[in-house]
Structures are given as C-alpha cells and as structure tokens.
C-alpha cells in the first residue's frame, strides 16, 4: 500500500501546506526544492470550475503539457497524468488522497472518487470519443474491479511514517515525493527507506530523533 500512497499523497501535501500557510513552505527543507510553479498552487482549485464544466469537447485549461521524449517510472494500467491533474488543473492533492491528513498511511483514491468527475468529463477528442485512458477507468468501474496500480514508494515494514503528523506540521509533500505535479508518470525521486533523509530533516527542525518514533 505504502509506496504509491506516499507518492500520490505528495501533491496533496503540497497544495494543503500552500493553502494553510505559504510561509511554512518558505522555511527550511521545503524552500530550495520548491519549483516556482508551486506557489501558484492552492487548496482551492481555481480552475476546477473549468475542469468540471467541460462537456464541450474542449480540454479545459488548454492543451495538456507535452510529454517528454522518455517517461520515468513504471507503466501503470491507466496512464494517469499527475502533471495534468495536479499540475495543469491544480487539483488539491487531498481531493484524492484525503487520508494523508488523518491517517498514518495514505489511501489511493477509490474509483468512485475518480468517477466523481469522469462520470461527466471524458476529455473527448474532436470526434467526441472519450479519452482512451478515461474509457479504461470507466470500464474498471463498470466491472467493479480495482485498478492494479503498480507500487512506486514503499517504506520498509519495520518503520512507520505518520503522514497525518507531517501534514499537520505543514510539510511540503515534494520534500519527500518530488515535484509530482510535473510528472506525467510518477517515479520515485528517492529511496524512502533511506533513513538519513529522515534524520537530517528531523535534526534541522529539532524534532524527535528517538528511534522508536518510527521503528517498532
């Protein structure tokens, strides 16, 4: 469960923290890894209106970002583009990964969550055919089958990472997950099992370095 949920939670953490306190982003770890575009994010999706009302075959917010020549990360059953959803449409990450704020582990959005929009929006092409990836989603949902997402991030089971606590602390999610909103296909930016990453941050912020904070 863990790896992908961390990954997907990344965007969520970013937007939430930006909304809660822009300043909290400017502090410490978050600062240097914050891409310029990030500050434009907000928990309230500005362009979401456009996103929801696009029944007219026009892709809301203009064309999607062009894909790079080669994509990082593993191929997923559905080519879900974070750079479109989290990037272009600036959807708040907690919209899908809502458990990041109230649980240790983070949820993948249920298909019903996806369908919340895609029951309506299908990003049809000029001929009016729905986008093939969205068609896949609708198919999975119709069949009542879970989408077998490929796991990206996983913390070893001997360490426990309270997402809720880090969200509450207003930590930017890119801090750990990288600039998800710029990834057409998500890839791990660092090995989350590398403890040095955690301890450095905890040392800089003067928070606990007790081993049993994570290891039990």
């Amino acid at each position: 469960m863990k790896r992908t949920t961390y990954l997907l939670a990344g965007g969520a953490l970013l937007c939430l923290s930006a909304a809660l306190a822009g300043v909290s982003l400017v502090r410490g770890q978050g600062a240097e890894r914050r891409a310029p575009a990030d500050t434009a994010f907000s928990a309230v999706p500005r362009s979401s209106g456009a996103g929801y009302s696009s029944l007219d075959g026009v892709r809301p917010g203009g064309d999607w970002p062009a894909l790079p020549r080669r994509l990082n990360g593993p191929a997923q059953p559905i080519f879900y583009r974070h750079d479109v959803h989290a990037g272009q449409y600036r959807m708040p990450c907690l919209y899908c990964h809502n458990n990041a704020a109230n649980s240790w582990t983070v949820n993948l959005p249920s298909e019903s969550t996806c369908m919340g929009c895609h029951i309506v929006t299908s990003a049809p092409d000029t001929a009016g055919n729905p986008d093939p990836e969205i068609a896949k989603l609708r198919d999975y949902y119709a069949k009542g089958v879970s989408i077998p997402w490929v796991r990206i991030n996983k913390i070893p089971e001997y360490s426990h990472f309270p997402h809720m606590r880090h969200v509450a602390a207003g930590l930017a999610c890119q801090t750990c997950h990288g600039n998800i909103q710029q990834m057409p296909r998500v890839f791990p930016v660092r090995d989350p099992s590398n403890m040095g990453w955690c301890t450095n941050c905890h040392m800089q912020r003067g928070v606990t370095r007790d081993c049993t904070a994570c290891h039990f």
Partner: protein, 990 residues
C-alpha cells in the same frame, strides 16, 4: 450488502500491509472501487460483538484494520466482562484464521471425502428431511451448543417445520447439578447469578470460577474487586477442593477434603453455623433447618471428609461473621455421583447465613435452564441406536470428543441415515458425518445471545468471511428449509434478518454499536422449600475397587483449551497450564508421596487404567493434589480437528463410564478410580518452569493481612544492605541519571510506567495471549517449548512458598515482563544501539538494527528478552509461524521480526506512538488512560495499570506510592519501570 462489498475489496487491498511482504518491483496496489466513509486505511475500526468461545458470552470489540480482524478487546459497556477478555476470547482470532478450517462442502463416500457444491448438498439434505418428516415425528435431530436468543428460537422453529422436537443444546459442562439443586432447595431450576464483588468471604467448593466455571471473566473481575487489598480490607477466600488449580491459587486457605465429600463438608459447616447460633433464620424454617443440621455432627463430618473439626468450626464462624459471604459449588465438587446433593448443601449453607437474595440471586430467566443435560444426550444416543433418527445435524459442538467413549456416540451416530455437520472445523463429530457444510466462525456471523438475565448481546461480523465457501449455519438452514418447501423464520431470508427481526433500525444500530441491549433484571425472591430435607447426602460411589493402589481420577477442564475446543489454536496450546506450566502436552498430576510410593518422577510415562479404559500420559509430580487423587486435564487427545490438536496428548474422558450420572442427570467426571502403571518409558515435559522456589529472592512477594494493616511488607534481599551500601546505590543511581538531562532527554518527556497489583492478579494469563495477538508473537511449537524457546513477552511465574507437604502452602504468581529499567543492564552492552533508552523512559528495542549478539539478553537479570532462533517471520521458511491465513491477523503496526533478532516487550510502544500522533494532530493533550497496553487492556482482574509516572495525578503514579509497592530484584539498582504491589494473604483467623 454494500458494506460487505467494501470489505471484500478492502480485504484484498489490505494484503500488502497485513502480510508485511517485502517490496517487490511488481507489487500491485488495489484501491477500493467504492470507498466507505467509516474505513480509513491505517486507522482501526472496532465492531462490538459477543465472544462465543465459551457460553459465558462476554462483550467484545473486534479491532479491524483494512477490514481484517486483528485483535479482540473487551467491550467496557458490556455487563458481562466489563471490557475484559480471557485468553480463550483473545484466541478467537486463531479460530477465525485457522488454516485447518473447512473451506467448502464435503460429502463422505466410500472413497472418503469428496467436494460437493452447496446446491447439491442442500438438495440432498432437503430431500432427506422431507422423507424423514414424512415418515414420522421426531425423526430429525438438531444439535447445537448452549444457545439462546433469536437464532435459538429459529432452530426450534426450523426443527418443528420438519415435525421434530429433537433439539439438543449440548455442552460438555452444563451445570446440571446447580440447576437441579436450586429446584430441590428453592423450587427454581436455574443457575443463580453470583455476586462475588460484594462478598466479604468467598467459600468455593471446587468451583473454578476464575477458569471455566459459568462466567470466568466477569467473576474474575468481581472476585479481584472483593479480594484485592484496599484501605485495610479484603475478602477472604477459602478453596475447598481435592486439587488445587488456578482458582485455588488465589485462595488464602486451601482445604482438601476427600473427593466426593465436599457436600458433606458444606453441610457440616452449615450445621456448625447453626450450632453456633449464627444462622440468619427465623420461625419454623429455623427449626426445620436446626433439626436437619442436627444429623451432621462435627466429628462425623470430620471423619468422613478428613477435615479437622476445629477447621470446620472456624470456617463456619468466619463465614457467618462476614456478611455478605458467598459459597459456590462447582468443578470437581459437582462432578461426582453426589453432585446434586453437594450443590444443594451449598445452597443450604448460603441460605443459612442469608446470602440468598444478596450474593446469590435468582432471576425470572436463566441462560442455562434450556441447556440439555448429559442424560438428554444419552437419550438421544439411545434413539439413534434404535434407529428413531433419520437425519441428524450437528452445529458447533463436538459430542464425539466430549462424550465418554463408553457412551457409544459414534456407533449410534453412524446408524443415522444422513448426518450433517455445520462445522467450521473437521472435528471428531464432523469426521463421522456424511455431509460437512462449512460454517463461519463467531467473528463472521450474525447472532444474538442472552448470556445473563436482562442482557441481549449481539454478535455481528467483524469482517467478511475469510473463506468464500463458508456460510453461517442459520443461512444454510434457511436455504435447506426453502429447498424443502418449508417457510420458517417468519420470512427472514438471512441470519441477519432473523437477528434484526422485530427491531426498528435505530434500535438495531444502537444495539450493534453498544454490543447489545442491557437491562437490569429484577431479582426473584426465593425461600427454602419446606421439604428440602429430602435431599440427603450420600457418599458418592466410584467405579473400580477402592483397595491398594487405586486413586480417584479428577478430570478437570483445561483453563486454556476448555472442553477441547481450543486445542487447535496455537496461542492456547502454547499457553502453559497455570498449575503445571506445561504446554502442548497431556499429563497426570501425582502427589509427591504417591509418586514416591509408585516410584515415578516427572516425565515418566504411565498407563492410567480405569474399569472403562486406559490412557498413557507422562507424570507431573504436583503437591497440589491429595495423595489419594490423580488429576488430568480435559482438552487434549483429539483424533481430528487440525494440525495443532490432532494426535496430541490423551483424553481422560476415555476413562469414564457412560452411566456415571448423578441425580441431576449430569455426567460425573470424577466418578472412577484408576491405577497407574509404569511403562518404563520417558518423555520430556514441555514446561516453562525453571525453579519452583524463589529462594527468598523477593521476586513475587506477599504480606499477611495482619502485617499489611500494621504497614509491614515482605522484605526482599535488598533489605540486607547496610546504610552505607544503600547510600552508595543511591549515589550510583544519581550519577547514572545525569544522562537524562542532555539532548532529547532534557525535554519534559513522559515516563511510561506500569503497576501490577498482585493482590488482584489471579494468574489467568489472559495478558499472555493478548500480547501474542497484539505484538505478532510467533507460536514456536512443542519442540521449541521443550528447549525454553517460547516467545511470550509476558509470562506468569509460579513459585511455591512454605512447606508443600501439607495443604498449608501458598502460591506466589507474578507476571514477568520487560521492566523498562531506568538503569537498564541491557542498554550499555549493545554494540549497535539496538537496545537503548527512549526519552520517555522505555527500553527501546530496534529490531532492524539488532545484529544478534544476545549480550542484552545475557545481561538482563529478569530474562525477559526473547531471541528469534528461527526465521518465524519469513514466508516459505520451514519455521514460518504465520501460515496463510494466520498472517491476516498480524498487527500491521508491529514489525514481524526476522531470524537472529532480539525482541521484547516495549509497553506496546506502537499504541503509545499512535496515541501521541493522534493527540498531536488533534492538537490536544494526552489524558491518563488514553494509552493502554494489550496486557492491561485485557486483564480481567484489572491488576495492570499503565500511565505516565511524571504526571503526579496519573493513577500509576498514585499506585506507585502504595506501601506494598516494590521492585523485583530492586537491589540490583536497575530502577525498574514496573512496580509490583505485594499480594496480601489472610492467614488464620479472618
């Protein structure tokens, strides 16, 4: 239906987490198709339900994660158990996830068992039922365990639909004598409700009310409440039984009468009370009782029972003086041929001192009154033998195992045209059946039971069935009836509807949330029937000749395995017996003198021969039995049932005669004499016992009541230190504490500590099993237990105090777990900081850092560190301890340890961290009691208290101040975080 759907998907989604499998590149993550608001990954969900591991019916809350049951905890709102669960209740999970469960319907053919579809099976049964009903009345039999409530009524209705009333509510321990005695003495054929909590003097005639008797968890809680020492008071507990077990370990005094004479002793005490003019009776009743009691002279009673006159008079005096007092009859005292008389005598005793209506209360309804008697079972067997039964359905009961072989159940059962087992396991009875329909376990089913007067307790599924092929018995019966064209259940289509029948949705929701509907039942006043005197005491007969080497056999229910239904649960098999500390085996308890006479020692295999059969078991020399008695636990000796139970130990019921019945129609478990013969062969006893004596080391301490009143305490070895030495120790401690003022330690941290009140602890070991469940402890099996390699993080040590030659010796029990020392010997010696001190005062143990030098364990004076000798945690390893689907139960919050790693108790640090994080996110302070380790949560005696010792207002800091408080091995200056409160024992005159 919706919720079930979510759970299904969630069940799949959880696998990655629950199984704790290693990250693989190809690993997939399955999201919910529809998500439910009440289901957050990583946050536990609790479902209020009722424990069905024994008929007591305690209220439970099943903790689920990602829609998987991972832990059973008590339901504090429930009147039975009050939020506490015993070891068997904790182990319900292992029944749920047992890999040996029946996963699909089977049909027995000449070639053995063959798979069959549900539809075919139902069709076959329906046809057979139709034929049976057509050919006459009462040709269908339905056998269940002690059942009550909606489903119980439904079963009767269902049976009636096929023109039959052959319903059996079969329990191995059905307490017939209590019911019958109540009828004979008070005209109420019911098991009364006993109030141990308000009793100031408890006199138990053989009743193992802390183990299996009636409602052990609730009674343990009440008893601890009365028997604990507080503000200079405590109830005295006198145990009268020829074998001293768990319950009698808590006794302040142990009286061991000749087996079968308990009733006479009760009468003798009653007579003594009357003679001393302490009887609480008036008028004609008083005269009648006086006249009756005149028959029992102190001398006569003393001679027959082997209990001295002065003891009888003293007990009588104390019993009458302490109002209210309470006498109970059960266990071995109500399991011989004079059982009913014994129970009646105890009723009289209670009546004489005016306990009836106070500590012994009758209600309009009693959960036991409908439960079948042993005589009903034999009648049923006779009917089958006579061919009067065409179809027999057995649901969740195992008569083939719990009935004496001599009763001839198997032969009679085979004569039935169609036998059907609605069973979750392929137990001895199911093995005999033509059709086996896979049943769910109590954690997957809908039901409602009435465990006590005024209590409607609900059972609801905590998760979707583990195996798709399984169906709740009631659902199956509904389908069968439908197939046979009968309409039953007033149109209900599922068990759930049967349970919910006649309830408005809001009421149902409320009941499901709180575990049931609890109302205070009015007490039914009873008076002694005028002709009670017709209950005359007769010395019970014992099969076999009395002469020579013959010893009376006591077959007692095992506290862990109950009547054998726990035998396939690894947690229960590995739970050492409280008296002998033996796990995984059967044994014969022999008194040291008898052992000397027979020239047998621990581990000698002997053949135990009775007129009805013989078994072979190893000897355990035990001072807790009379020299003229041997004792054997019931529960082992299965020939089927599963990998842990099958072909393990022996079943003492094979030694009993079928006709050993008392006046109430109960089976007399204690009705035969046996002879022991050496086989000359040896076996090693899988005992966890090291030394049975603590050699004055002051580990488990106790003080006499008189002493406690004077503020005295039992001193340990540290008392021998000189002042200079004490000063040195204090100085050393101070210097060592300086470390606590640097870095993260300097902050205002809590200090987690534990207090264990030994005057409450009964040694029931519920904490041990709770720890297994919470902390993913592996079950290591018999061979490793033999090598002292058990992994239980908390263990019950049992020491004898005093001369065990007679009956005047005490048992000191102490739960030993990691003491979380402030000056921990384990910490400095670890070369890699895997063992270290956390800022909040725990001895942290970082499994993934441990390299396995085992220096910490060598240096731990309490020996509470446990090493992974084998690879219990890796799928596919020969020692993998969590065979699918047992691994579904693994607590995702706790690392599953790999081989070569040291592990130990950390006060459930995962619970601490989760609570702290929760409080942090909710921006509130942790309150005392927010965090409860698994052991403290389940302790039926409420002996274990956890909290922050830096908070002076916390309960734990207040208890620490108690004069009885001490530290085990305190003279080592380890500064333990566990404070024990000395047990208080009422010696002599109370």
């Amino acid at each position: 239906m919706e919720r079930r759907r979510f759970l299904q998907v969630a069940g799949v989604a959880g696998i990655g987490v629950a199984a704790g499998c290693a990250p693989t590149s190809g690993e997939r993550l399955l999201p919910y198709v529809n998500e439910s608001d009440d289901l957050i990954p990583g946050i536990p969900e609790f479902y209020a339900s009722t424990c069905r591991e024994c008929p007591a019916g305690c209220g439970i809350q099943v903790k689920t994660r990602e829609a998987r049951a991972i832990k059973v905890e008590g339901n504090p709102a429930h009147p039975v158990g009050h939020g506490r669960v015993c070891a068997r209740g904790q182990a319900a999970l292992q029944g749920l996830y047992d890999p040996d469960r029946v996963k699909q319907p089977w049909r027995r053919t000449a070639r053995g068992l063959e798979p069959v579809t549900w539809d075919r099976a139902i069709e076959q049964i329906a046809t057979a039922l139709g034929a049976a009903a057509a050919s006459g009345a009462d040709r269908v039999a339905l056998v269940t365990g002690a059942d009550s409530g909606a489903l119980d009524a439904f079963y009767d209705e269902w049976l009636a639909a096929f023109r039959s009333h052959r319903r059996l509510r079969y329990e191995a321990f059905a307490y017939e004598p209590l019911r019958e005695a109540s009828r004979l003495t008070f005209g109420v054929a019911a098991v009364p409700e006993f109030d141990f909590a308000s009793a100031r003097y408890v006199l138990s005639f053989g009743a193992d009310f802390l183990e299996t008797w009636l409602s052990p968890v609730e009674y343990t809680r009440q008893f601890a409440e009365a028997h604990r020492y507080h503000d200079g008071r405590m109830a005295k507990f006198v145990a009268v039984e020829p074998r001293r077990g768990l319950t009698a370990y808590s006794a302040d005094e142990w009286i061991a009468p000749k087996p079968g004479t308990e009733g006479l002793l009760a009468l003798g005490i009653a007579s003594s009370v009357v003679r001393q003019g302490k009887a609480d009776l008036t008028g004609a009743e008083a005269d009648r009782v006086r006249g009756f009691c005149a028959r029992f002279t102190a001398r006569g009673v003393a001679e027959t029972t082997g209990v001295a006159e002065d003891v009888i008079d003293r007990v009588a005096r104390e019993f009458a003086a302490a109002r209210p007092s309470l006498a109970v009859a059960g266990g071995v005292a109500t399991q011989h041929r004079a059982a009913t008389q014994a129970a009646a005598a105890v009723n009289l005793l209670n009546y004489v001192v005016g306990n009836v209506g106070r500590t012994v209360r009758y209600h309009a309804a009693s959960p036991w009154e409908k439960v079948s008697r042993y005589r009903d079972a034999t009648a049923w067997i006779a009917a089958m033998q006579a061919g009067a039964v065409d179809v027999a359905l057995v649901h969740r009961t195992n008569p083939a195992f719990t009935l004496p072989k001599a009763a001839g159940f198997a032969d009679a059962f085979r004569k039935v045209h169609l036998t059907v087992a609605l069973a979750s396991h392929l137990d001895e009875t199911a093995e005999l059946c033509d059709l086996i329909l896979p049943d769910v376990t109590p954690l997957e089913e809908w039901s409602v039971v009435e465990p006590a007067a005024g209590v409607r307790s609900f059972v609801q599924p905590a998760m979707t069935p583990v195996f798709d092929g399984t169906r709740q018995a009631a659902d199956a019966l509904l389908a069968i009836a439908a197939k046979a064209g009968k309409t039953v259940g007033r149109g209900a289509a599922t068990a759930r509807e049967l349970v919910a029948a006649g309830m408005v949705p809001t009421a149902l929701d409320h009941a499901l949330q709180h575990g049931g509907e609890f109302a205070a039942a009015p007490v039914k006043p009873v008076r002694l029937v005028p002709d009670f005197a017709r209950v005359v005491y007769r010395a019970p007969a014992f099969d076999g000749d009395a002469g020579g080497e013959a010893l009376v056999l006591i077959a007692y229910p095992s506290a862990a395995l109950f009547d054998g239904r726990g035998a396939n649960k690894g947690w229960l098999q590995e739970l050492p017996d409280v008296a002998t500390k033996i796990a995984w085996q059967s044994w014969v308890e022999v008194h040291p003198d008898t052992a000397l006479r027979l020239r047998v020692a621990n581990g000698d295999l002997v053949t135990v021969t009775s007129p009805h059969g013989r078994v072979e078991a190893p000897v355990y020399v035990y001072p807790g039995v009379r020299p003229d008695v041997v004792a054997m636990p019931i529960g082992q000796g299965h020939t089927a049932y599963g990998r842990n139970a099958k072909h393990r130990g022996v079943n003492p019921l094979d030694l009993l005669g079928a006709d050993a019945v008392d006046a109430s129609g109960a089976l007399a478990f204690c009705s035969t004499r046996v002879t022991l013969a050496k086989t000359g062969r040896q076996t090693r006893l899988a005992t966890t016992e090291g030394s049975a004596r603590q050699l004055g080391r002051g580990i488990a301490r106790a003080v006499s009541l008189a002493g406690a009143l004077k503020g005295e305490v039992e001193a340990g070895p540290e008392a021998t230190l000189t002042d200079a030495e004490r000063a040195a120790v204090a100085a050393a401690a101070a210097s060592q504490r300086e470390r606590a003022n640097i870095g993260v330690y300097a902050k205002p941290n809590p200090k987690w500590e534990l207090t264990i009140d030994l005057s409450r602890c009964t040694g029931c070991q519920a904490c041990v099993t709770a720890c297994y469940a919470e902390n993913n402890l592996p079950v290591v099996g018999e061979e490793q237990t033999l090598r002292h390699r058990g992994m239980a993080w908390i263990r019950l040590e049992r020491y004898y105090e005093g001369d065990t030659a007679g009956t005047d010796w005490q048992v000191r029990q102490i739960p030993m777990l990691c003491q979380q020392c402030e000056n921990a010997p384990c910490e400095p010696v670890c070369p890699v900081y895997a063992a270290y001190h956390t800022p909040d005062g725990l001895n942290g143990q970082i499994y993934n850092r441990c390299i396995g030098t085992r220096y910490c364990a060598a240096n731990c004076p309490y020996k509470v560190r446990y090493f992974n000798w084998w690879d219990y945690g890796t799928v596919g390893d020969p020692y993998f301890a969590f065979v699918e689907p047992l691994n579904w139960q693994l607590n995702p919050d706790v690392t599953v340890r790999t081989k070569g790693v040291m592990e130990k108790c950390t006060f459930c640090v995962q619970r601490i961290r989760f609570a702290q994080t929760d409080a942090k996110v909710r921006k509130r302070e942790l309150a005392d009691g927010d965090i409860t380790p698994a052991c403290a949560q389940t302790c039926p005696a409420e002996a274990i208290v956890f909290g922050d010792a830096h908070d002076p207002s916390s309960l734990v800091s207040r208890l620490k101040q108690d004069a009885r408080g001490y530290h085990a091995l305190g003279m080592l200056n380890t500064k333990p975080g566990v404070t024990y409160l000395e047990r208080v024992i009422t010696q002599g005159e109370a």
